[in-house]
Assembly symmetry: none
Homo-oligomer: 221 residues x 4
DNA sequence: GATGAATGAGATTTCATTCAT
DNA sequence: AATGAATGAAATCTCATTCAT
């Protein structure tokens, strides 16, 4: 009763402990370099139990990715008020994103680095999550155009590219913010908002940067 | 020269063949999953020779990173005319970057993905390369401010963040352009220029997006 | 009794269910490849119960062998009328043997194949059963000699060899009859009777095949 | 030079040593219970070398079966003079068979017991070898009929059954002869010849054992 | 300059078996 | 009477690395 080392726990609880340990090890060592021995030890159980519950190293990795992808999207969605204007929604979403990745760096490593370094089965899980976020950002950009009462004449492909760029920048800044002491989630979000929203506004007002014509630089790549 | 199966070649040539093979395998399988057997076979030599020339798996990986980081920075630098205005310099640099990563996807995978998923010794090489590029972009931003004859009142930390965001967006777009059929290096560069340069211009003119005050959202994160 | 999933049954019944499952798994997979997990699942009980009742994998295997050896000898004995002449007794015994092995192929596999591929403890059980059958056949052969009113001058060792050969042929034909569609127990028995009883008659009448003398083949093995 | 423990030998030699060890261990322990560790140790090499040369446990087992099946058929064929009459051919073949199995009991165990206890891939190898031998015996039986200038009126299926029975009896006697001290290959062969050839002669002369009619035993199985 | 032969160490995975309820 | 939770021990297999020539 109230003892120190808990033995014999219900399966659901043990599974979460195992996933916690696995995310930490996978996030720090990478999939291949992570050893099931180490994960089991960190989870405080024997290796056979990990296999009994999670089946195989691949299944364990997949379970980690799924859990953390769900947690991240849940966190971002929870930060958003759909009734606010588009810029405010993006701002809240970015803040939630940077806050979550800062608080769960190993999980972020699993999603951003480790899962992508391996074949389709794993990468596909992350691609799905990313697609959801890119779609959300794309919708916000369209809303912004409507709110500005402009017919922006931005082709779909370009909007998709812009959303890609924003999400990519966010992913990159997450790593930067984590690695640079003194940079908070709010600061990272503000930097990105300034960059992105200003650029978007300029584009919507019809001003765009155009590459030099071939006449000027006939030797272009 | 001449014969069918070339044996006995000068060391420098053999080494490059080994690095070629290693970049391909490391880029596709990842560091841990790559096997020295496979690399040696692809290089057309025996394993002991790989060890004789490159010492160990770690050293071989480091040599790959160094060679490809140098190749990438060389390619970007070669694309730039320092006498042109800042926007044109950035445009040329981005075009060169996207062109090089598209032409050498395995090398880009080694630098962008594989090197980062492993401990300090490897990541450090890439960090150095990235720092050089970020510094270059930061300088361009400052040049742009001077050219606009504005005292932008942009604190250094923010400029660094912006450069970081731009480089991150570029890295992300490189993967996107490689994976999306029909997107050329030029198009990826144009998308990014629109995003970044327009935003930068707005910032320089003093307009900036500001987060809502605490009064409005007292429950903020 | 009555409900869908029967729980809580008397020990004797549960034990037979376990043995049924074990015979099937052991017969198909072999001793070592059979897993206690699979046996427990097929028996519809939990693994600890199997251990509670049958003690260990070895004990379980031994119990299977014993039960099936007893069942086979019982079946053969039940087919025989001791008051009939020797040839008829052999005929009935063979028919019963082929019928039983055809109806219980997994049990036959356990006795004929699996038990023999393992060390003394298991093989011994089968050896005992086999010895009983060989002794029975030997007795029949002796009876046949007496019935024929001949002093056959067959040394004991040779009779034992003949009985051994008959039983071996029967075992072999059992597998053949099981594997060859359209061969019934009666046909297998008839084939063997023709082979064995005719040969025995010839031997009893004093005609025997004699190997060539050394003079003819001085290089014999 | 002329040292005690030989290291560094050509691959072909090492492979044979490994097969020797594997046959011994597989023959005594069975496929599943045999451990690659034990085989490697008995062969005097490290485990990785076994895998390098023989690929996997399954491949190693298959290689054993193939080698020993080839050796056994070669031995039997070498013992036969095709220009002799049928009975002499059978006699020589049986002698060679019993001599070979007596001299290589582990190999015989691999072929007769272990290979059959496992799935198709392995059993198939032995089935092929056995089919060859059964075909040879069938041919001899037909030759005997021709030599006796009889039109035996033996249906093919029955001849096949007889050949099966003979081969089965031989297989069984091989184990018996190995286990019974003082029984030589020649004695085992003589016992079987007496049994088989006499029976065959009786059959060829038209006398056959016929089962009782249903009228006599209406309750037959 | 180049390689066939060989291995120590460690990876994932499975299994028979027991404890606490 | 019965079981969910848990494990020690060992299996197959792979890999980076070296030796002797």
């Amino acid at each position: 009763m109230g003892g120190a080392r808990t033995r014999r726990m219900p399966r659901a609880v043990r599974e979460q402990q195992m996933l916690d340990a696995a995310v930490r090890i996978f996030g720090r060592r990478g999939y291949a370099a992570a050893s099931m021995d180490e994960i089991a030890e960190l989870a405080g159980v024997s290796k056979p139990l990990v296999y009994l519950y999670l089946n195989s190293k691949e299944d364990l990795f997949t379970a980690c990715i799924r859990r953390e992808a769900a947690a991240l999207t849940r966190a971002v969605r929870a930060g958003i008020r759909p009734d606010l204007p588009a810029d405010r929604q993006l701002w809240e979403g970015l803040k939630a994103f940077f806050a979550h990745t800062a608080q769960h760096p190993d999980a972020w490593s699993v999603l951003h680095l480790q899962a992508r370094t391996h074949g389709e089965p794993f990468a596909a899980e992350v691609v799905a999550m990313r697609a959801e976020i890119v779609a959300f950002v794309t919708r916000l950009f369209a809303d912004a155009a409507r709110e500005a009462h402009r017919d922006p004449d931005l082709p779909e492909r370009e909007v998709a590219g812009l959303a890609e760029a924003l999400v990519g920048a966010a992913e990159s800044l997450a790593a930067w913010a984590n690695a640079t002491p003194g940079v908070s989630a709010g600061q990272a979000a503000a930097t990105l908002m300034n960059f992105a929203w200003s650029g978007l506004g300029t584009l919507l007002s019809g001003h765009r940067w155009t590459p030099p014509t071939r006449a000027e630089r006939p030797d272009g790549v």
